[in-house]
């Protein structure tokens, strides 16, 4: 789950970078940047979740 979180974070950033390079400033670029942020939020969720799960197991 931890690895998935990190991969989601990197994937979100990659979406933003690709959108910057491929799209002109437009509503499509805004949509892709927001999509990148959403993917990063999923990554953060996985990272926090894996940390919580680890703590539950060590209790």
């Amino acid at each position: 789950m931890k690895l998935a979180g990190i991969l989601f974070l990197l994937a979100g950033w990659s979406i933003v970078l690709s959108a910057l390079d491929l799209l002109r400033p437009s509503s499509a670029l805004i949509a892709f940047v927001l999509a990148g942020i959403a993917v990063e939020c999923i990554g953060l969720f996985f990272l926090f979740r894996s940390h919580l799960k680890l703590r539950e197991e060590t209790r």
């Binding site: 990190i6 974070l9 990197l10 994937a11 979100g12 950033w13 990659s14 933003v16 910057l20 390079d21 400033p25 670029l29 805004i30 940047v33 927001l34 990148g36 942020i37 990063e40 990554g43 953060l44 990272l47 926090f48 940390h51 919580l52 703590r55 539950e56 060590t58 209790r59």
Partner: protein, 438 residues
């Protein structure tokens, strides 16, 4: 040698004011160290202060040895990729040990000095999240990774003429990613490293019950905490002023606006935290108020030269709300044991400040601000999508080869006795359990 009118700049009012402002920045480090010390237990007080000093020392040395080589300065040698006709400046290509850089007051040399202090400031931030359980030698090793890798790479992108700074020229996004006072480069980078370290080290012994309920472990000296706030204020005035002159090229007269905005942002955040704790708990809480104050300084440092005072107040008020609730939220629901509140104060408030800069800044030419908020969002996604994985991975690997957490016995004894051999307050027996074998 780096070309440019070095002596000419140092003899201008902007150069002189910039130099004086940079020399105030170590006060911010002293302030953060005092705040961390005051928010921690008395049995680890000396350890926190010594660790802060060691972190600054290691960060300064590593930054000079190799950090500046990747960081560089705008217009300096760098590795640039051309993608679809646009240049992407990824990393500087300076020699090690600052070779080739005349330390004579040129903008490049002042930038190197400010960033050496910036690396030290970023290195202190994780210490307040990891008190009572992070070994001194491991702190030094982790700081070397921060100052030699994570910090300079991101700083180059923002302050060294890298691709984030070029978003305006290349893609028409405002003036590119704006962060004149280091809200991202110093604060969020430090805050995300703090988050990584809390995950890697785990919570303090006895912090959470079997059911996962947090135990209150109050700080030992509110006096240190509040005095630290005064010091950070002065240090931040220097940081924001020098950063704006060097990286946003403002005229020296605008330092008045920067000082007003920096103060207003901190004041609003501190007061908001005080009011919220007064309403929630019946009494104002000194530690949360101090966290709010520093959170306001952090949030206000993204673009203090381009906001009017009313906008700085809004930034501060919201930073105060974010920090106050996030401290509880991280402790209660996410089980992140962060005694100094480093993650909410530096990472969350910093991200809010960067976002607010995109929404609330006013340039003389408003057309230049078009797309600025998008540039700020790209910067924030880079912090979350690149800096967090990088700093987490580096410290995770370090932990595999060199365990970072102190032994259980050391944690029970306190870091002062275990690592330094003596307590910070030898005349007073503050906690009897420090000396009783369980």
């Amino acid at each position: 040698m780096i070309p440019g009118p070095a002596s000419a700049f140092s003899e201008t009012p902007a150069g002189a004011i910039c130099l004086v402002s940079i020399l105030l920045v170590p006060l911010a480090m002293a302030g953060l160290a005092l705040i961390s010390c005051g928010l921690g237990r008395s049995r680890s007080a000396a350890h926190v202060m010594l660790a802060s000093l060691c972190a600054v020392a290691v960060a300064s040395i590593v930054y000079v040895v190799c950090g500046f080589s990747w960081d560089g300065f705008a217009g300096g040698p760098a590795h640039v990729w051309l993608l679809r006709g646009k240049s992407w400046n990824w990393i500087a290509a300076q020699p090690f040990f600052l070779r080739g850089l005349e330390l004579d007051g040129s903008p490049a040399s002042l930038g190197a000095l400010l960033q050496m202090f910036g690396a030290g400031l970023a290195a202190i931030i994780p210490l307040s999240a990891t008190m009572d359980r992070w070994r001194l030698s491991a702190i030094c090793a982790s700081t070397a990774l921060l100052a030699g890798c994570t910090y300079p790479i991101f700083a180059h992108w923002v302050w060294g003429g890298g691709w984030l700074a070029q978003l305006g020229d290349n893609y028409g996004l405002g003036r590119g990613f704006l962060d004149s006072g280091g809200a991202a480069t110093v604060q969020v980078v430090g805050g995300l490293t703090a988050l990584s370290m809390t995950w890697i080290l785990g919570a303090r012994r006895d912090k959470y019950s079997e059911e996962g309920m947090p135990t209150a472990i109050p700080g030992h000296s509110p006096v240190f905490v509040v005095f630290g706030c005064f010091l950070t204020w002065v240090g931040w005035l220097g940081l924001n002023s020098s950063g704006a002159i060097l990286f946003s090229h403002i005229l020296p007269g605008r330092i008045v606006l920067i000082a007003v905005n920096t103060t207003l942002s901190a004041a609003a955040a501190g007061l908001m935290a005080l009011v919220i704790t007064r309403v929630r708990f019946g009494r104002p809480d000194a530690s949360i108020t101090a966290n709010g104050w520093v959170g306001g300084l952090v949030a206000g440092s993204a673009a203090p030269a381009f906001m009017n005072p009313a906008a700085a107040l809004i930034v501060g008020f919201i930073a105060g709300i974010v920090v106050t609730f996030a401290v509880d939220w991280f402790e209660m629901w996410l089980e992140v044991d962060d005694p100094g509140g480093a993650v909410p104060v530096h990472a969350l408030a910093g991200i809010w400040g960067l976002l607010a800069a995109g929404l609330l800044i006013r340039f003389p030419d408003q057309n230049a601000a078009r797309g600025q908020w998008l540039a700020q969002l790209v910067g924030i996604t880079t912090l979350l999508g690149f800096v967090l994985p990088l700093t987490y991975s580096l410290n995770w690997l370090l932990n595999r080869v060199y365990p970072q957490r102190v032994e259980p016995d050391g944690e029970r004894q306190g870091m002062d006795l275990h690592e330094l051999g003596a307590g910070a307050y030898p005349e007073f027996v503050v906690h009897t359990d420090e000396f009783i074998q369980r």
